[in-house]
């Protein structure tokens, strides 16, 4: 995958420098027909503003919520979304894939 994520990481740096709490969520593993490949990322700030994507829009809401915890605690988290997981249905990754997303604070 060629790199098209420039504004995302730039935004992460800019937001952090501007004094915002910032978390970075990165797809680290995919199975099945996951919509975004490993390495795709989403950056979230403590106002709930986000850029980029880790899925086709299916699980971003849940990732943003978890990212708020990560910004608060400073501890990284591994999230998993998939069809086998009931909560995944709730948040909507119904395309048949499974993804693992690593969420970390920028500090």
């Amino acid at each position: 995958m060629l790199d098209r994520d420039e504004d995302i990481l730039k935004a992460a740096e800019d937001w952090q420098k501007a004094g915002r709490g910032v978390a970075l969520a990165t797809v680290v593993e995919t199975w099945g027909s996951a919509p975004r490949p490993a390495g795709s990322s989403l950056v979230i700030n403590d106002e709930g503003t986000f850029l980029g994507s880790v899925s086709g829009g299916c699980v971003e809401g849940a990732v943003v919520t978890e990212a708020m915890d990560v910004i608060e605690s400073g501890k990284p988290k591994m999230l998993e979304f998939g069809v086998a997981d009931e909560t995944a249905w709730n948040v909507g990754l119904s395309c048949g894939g499974t993804i693992r997303v690593f969420v970390e604070k920028v500090s």
Binding site: L2, D3, Q16, V28, P37, A38, G39, F102, E104
Partner: protein, 233 residues
């Protein structure tokens, strides 16, 4: 991620230098490995493989689960010659994810009607090429058939270390081109870098088929490990 690492990563990306971020997904520990430092890294083999594939991946080393996130610059394709082949090549390359620019000083060729939505520079290579920042993540093809245009363009490509250099023309044409370029200071090793006749030998006839053979060759050079690359060529 530490802000210092993020800053360093953004600097490498802005400079179009590849880098890989290695994350221990259990501890959260991270380090950034710049392409220049791959050779002396304990993960050398894995890093080189993932960069070549342009693909992020998980590896397990010494009981540690590591995620290798690959940051490779967007590859560019510079096409010198706004000819019929280029009309097929430019959109094909773009669909493969390349940033494409077409250069041709002949304004009748380099017209927006012939190349809708493709960045065009209707200037001689000496003027057109320097601002394009041709680099090691650039594939470079010269297809005008006109030595006045192709030759200076190829000399520029040698200087910038493009990962792929191709030029249109038969073996005979290419032999003459070699002589001309040497007379202008090119080394034998530079001439040897030119893929000519251009493209994989797939019996391409039409401009579109030639475009496919060129992109297939560029893909092979970009993705295959060095040994298999020799076999494919």
């Amino acid at each position: 991620m530490k802000l210092a690492i993020l800053h360093e990563l953004n600097a490498e990306r802005a400079a179009r230098r590849p880098a890989i971020l290695v994350t221990d997904t259990e501890s959260g520990e991270q380090r950034l490995v710049k392409a220049n430092d791959f050779a002396k890294d304990p993960l050398r083999v894995e890093l080189e493989k993932q960069l070549r594939m342009g693909k992020s991946a998980n590896v397990e080393v010494g009981g540690k689960k590591l995620f290798l996130n690959v940051y490779a610059p967007t590859a560019k394709l510079v096409i010198v010659g706004a000819v019929h082949i280029s009309q097929a090549l430019a959109p094909l390359a773009r669909s493969l994810g390349y940033d494409v620019t077409v250069v041709d000083p002949r304004t009748a060729f380099a017209s927006a009607e012939r190349f809708p939505d493709i960045p065009l520079v209707a200037e001689w290579p000496d003027t057109a090429l320097p601002p394009l920042d041709v680099d090691a993540y650039t594939a470079f093809v010269a297809v005008t058939h006109d030595p006045k245009i192709d030759d200076p363009a190829l000399l520029h490509a040698f200087e910038r270390g493009c990962f792929y250099i191709g030029a249109l023309g038969s073996r005979k044409t290419h032999a003459k081109r070699g002589d001309r370029l040497r007379a202008q200071g090119a080394k034998d090793s530079d001439i040897a870098r030119i893929h000519a006749p251009i493209g994989l030998a797939i019996g391409a006839v039409s401009p579109s088929e030639i475009a496919v053979s060129i992109m297939a060759e560029i893909t092979a050079v970009l993705r295959l490990p060095p040994k298999e690359k020799e076999e494919a060529a």
